[in-house]
């Protein structure tokens, strides 16, 4: 009985756990509620993925009102895969959060963090589950509003300014998305994605729909921080509490990429957006510039969180690049990089969170010789870094290999050069950290620090281990990504 309700329980569980956190208020209880809800959501997401793999897309009418009149939750393979990624990261981040948040957030606000984290989780899972373009906007706002609050919870006062800036940019992005949905509604009279896909071809040539596509593209690209709409991201990731950075870097931008995929390959499934409207050229050019320029900027950063934030911008470029091929291999590369990048960036930011836990700040000056004092933390960073570069036997290699194959298939050799070039830059910035951490002597008078607590190390290593595990045996993830891509490129929803 409960299996049939999984699409909605996935969202309702964290959504209802959030106000419970406000009621119980004690940090330890709020943590327990958050942990149970995120693990429950993970089980639900896994169950859904298995159901979808077995029996195809699942549709769930909210309130018993049939689509397209009512709101439909619709999980296909891509949606279920993204839900698994998001809830898995959530489930791993929560145990880690316990010690880290105590150190980085004022004690009387800890319950607010868990409340906001659960709302953000509910919003992100809702985006993955919903089959309604307007409902997606609502969840986009739930996840965005809660992430502004989570960033502002940091004790560094600069976090307030960056959260405010993020709020402005995020609101512009969400508004653009809403304008796009409004324009589509004007022309088709429907908000259901499958219904939109069926009705859009008739009106696809109108200026209104072209404007809608432009608004949707710009709005979502603001959310996913594609170059040149990325300016809010580096500061937001730098000054947010470490857990928040790890969670958002591993999930929020990924979900925004998923929304972009949804718009192009589900809503506009029957309209040739990539060829006829020059989207391929535009997206590909922006993605390549993001890959190269953001990696180049990352090389010159001294704050490691900021360096990783710039590296995230480059990695978002890879995902958008994969999507812009609009071929089976390309889209597979984009989707698998969603998963792989979530693993590696999660591991890297969590390793830096461990450093921040002991040293308050993770910059190149503070980590001199840290490899000897915090070996487990720094080793996790190295594993994540190798993944970021794309060394064989790590997940990064799987993504980059698929993307290179896609570029060769499409006969675009310059793209191959760009991927390799961006990877070389990744070696440069990862090496700076490794060199400082392991090969510099510990400076005189450096604080004697112990390893981070196990409650933080185990989740970090879980993700770092997953980077290697799914790098050696990528069969499951690749097959899910390939099936998702085939489904998206097939007959539409």
């Amino acid at each position: 009985m409960i299996g049939g309700h999984l699409p909605v329980l996935l969202v309702v569980l964290p959504l209802m756990a959030a106000p419970v956190c406000v009621v119980v208020r004690r940090p330890a209880w709020a943590w327990t509620v958050a942990a149970l809800a995120s693990w429950g959501a993970f089980v639900a997401a896994l169950g859904l993925l298995l159901q979808v793999l077995e029996g195809g897309p699942i549709s769930y009418p909210i309130g018993g009102w049939a689509a397209p009149w009512g709101i439909e939750y619709r999980l296909d393979l891509v949606g279920a895969f993204v839900a698994v990624i998001v809830s898995a990261i959530g489930g791993i981040v929560v145990p880690y959060a316990r010690s880290s948040i105590e150190r980085e957030v004022a004690a009387d606000r800890i319950y607010l963090f868990y409340c906001m984290y659960l709302l953000c989780l509910a919003g992100l899972l809702g985006i993955a589950a919903t089959g309604d373009a307007f409902n997606l906007f609502v969840f986009l706002e739930i996840s965005a509003l809660s992430s502004y609050v989570m960033i502002a919870l940091a004790q560094d006062r600069r976090a307030l300014t960056v959260a405010y800036r993020y709020l402005i940019m995020g609101t512009i992005g969400a508004t653009f998305y809403l304008i796009g949905v409004g324009l589509m509604y004007m022309m088709t009279g429907t908000l259901n994605m499958a219904d939109l896909a069926a009705r859009l071809p008739e009106v696809a040539e109108t200026r209104t729909i072209l404007a809608a596509l432009a608004f949707l593209t710009v709005g979502i690209c603001l959310k996913l921080a594609l170059f040149p709409l990325h300016l809010w991201l580096p500061n937001a990731y730098t000054y947010a509490p470490s857990v928040v950075t790890a969670f958002l870097a591993a999930t929020a931008t990924k979900v925004a990429v998923y929304v972009l995929i949804r718009v192009y390959f589900t809503i506009f499934a029957n309209v040739d957006v990539f060829e006829a409207m020059f989207l391929r050229e535009v997206l590909m050019a922006l993605a390549v510039v993001a890959m190269l320029s953001a990696s180049a900027i990352a090389v010159f950063q001294t704050n490691i969180k900021r360096m990783l934030a710039y590296s995230s911008l480059a990695q978002i470029g890879y995902m958008v690049l994969g999507m812009s091929f609009a071929t089976l291999t390309g889209l597979t590369g984009g989707i698998i990089h969603l998963f792989n990048h979530a693993l590696m960036k999660g591991a890297l930011f969590m390793a830096m969170g461990c450093v921040v836990f002991r040293l308050q700040v993770a910059s190149l000056d503070t980590i001199e010789g840290l490899g000897r004092r915090m070996p487990a933390t720094m080793a996790a960073f190295v594993v994540g870094g190798l993944s970021l570069i794309g060394v064989p036997l790590t997940v990064g290699f799987v993504s980059k290999w698929t993307l290179v194959l896609a570029a060769i298939e499409a006969n675009m050799w310059p793209i191959v050069v760009a991927i390799v070039g961006s990877s070389l830059l990744a070696i440069a910035y990862v090496w700076r950290v490794v060199e400082t951490g392991f090969f510099r002597p510990t400076p005189e008078g450096a604080p004697a620090v112990a390893e981070a607590p196990l409650s933080m190390l185990i989740p970090t290593w879980l993700l770092a281990g997953a980077c290697v595990w799914f790098g050696i045996d990528a069969r499951t993830t690749l097959s899910v990504a390939r099936q998702s891509a085939a489904f998206l490129l097939g007959s539409g929803p």
Partner: protein, 145 residues
């Protein structure tokens, strides 16, 4: 402003009417214009008027921050709970028809409960926002003690 007699008397006359009107908008919402959001704002504005005239310290004794905090959460939980009740009673999430024996009564009951949840949360949110702005010097947390 509590020393100005006119304001004091007029607001004391007005506040019950405001609260009553809020309840009218709340319970009339499922058949006519209105609903939980509007009712919550009107209900909250009654308390805000009281706080403006008699000072936030007195208002906080009437509605302490602890109560608004619980009301904030309770409204959302009521909303979500009605949805879950739909599942437990054998329907879909937020399916009101199964809430009562007859589908029409169930729809009526469901939307009334949902709107009440919205009203509760919105009223509490309005009061909380006012408290936070009115008590800029102290955070919402110290205000609770």
């Amino acid at each position: 402003m509590s020393h100005i007699a006119v304001l004091r008397v007029v607001s004391k006359l007005l506040i019950p009417v405001i609260l009553l009107f809020a309840l009218y908008v709340q319970f009339h919402g499922d058949f006519g214009p209105g609903g939980g959001f509007q009712a919550g704002v009107i209900f909250g504005s009654g308390f805000i008027l009281y706080a403006l005239i008699f000072g936030t310290a007195v208002a906080r004794r009437v509605v302490p921050a602890a109560i608004t905090r619980i009301a904030l959460a309770a409204g959302v939980l009521l909303y979500g709970g009605v949805g879950v009740a739909g599942i437990v009673l054998g329907g879909q999430y937020l399916d009101y028809s199964v809430l009562a024996d007859d589908a029409l009564a169930g729809q009526h009951l469901g939307i009334a409960l949902i709107e009440f949840g919205v009203g509760l949360t919105v009223a509490a949110a309005m009061i909380t926002i006012f408290y936070v702005f009115a008590g800029q010097d102290r955070g919402p947390e110290d205000a609770e003690q």
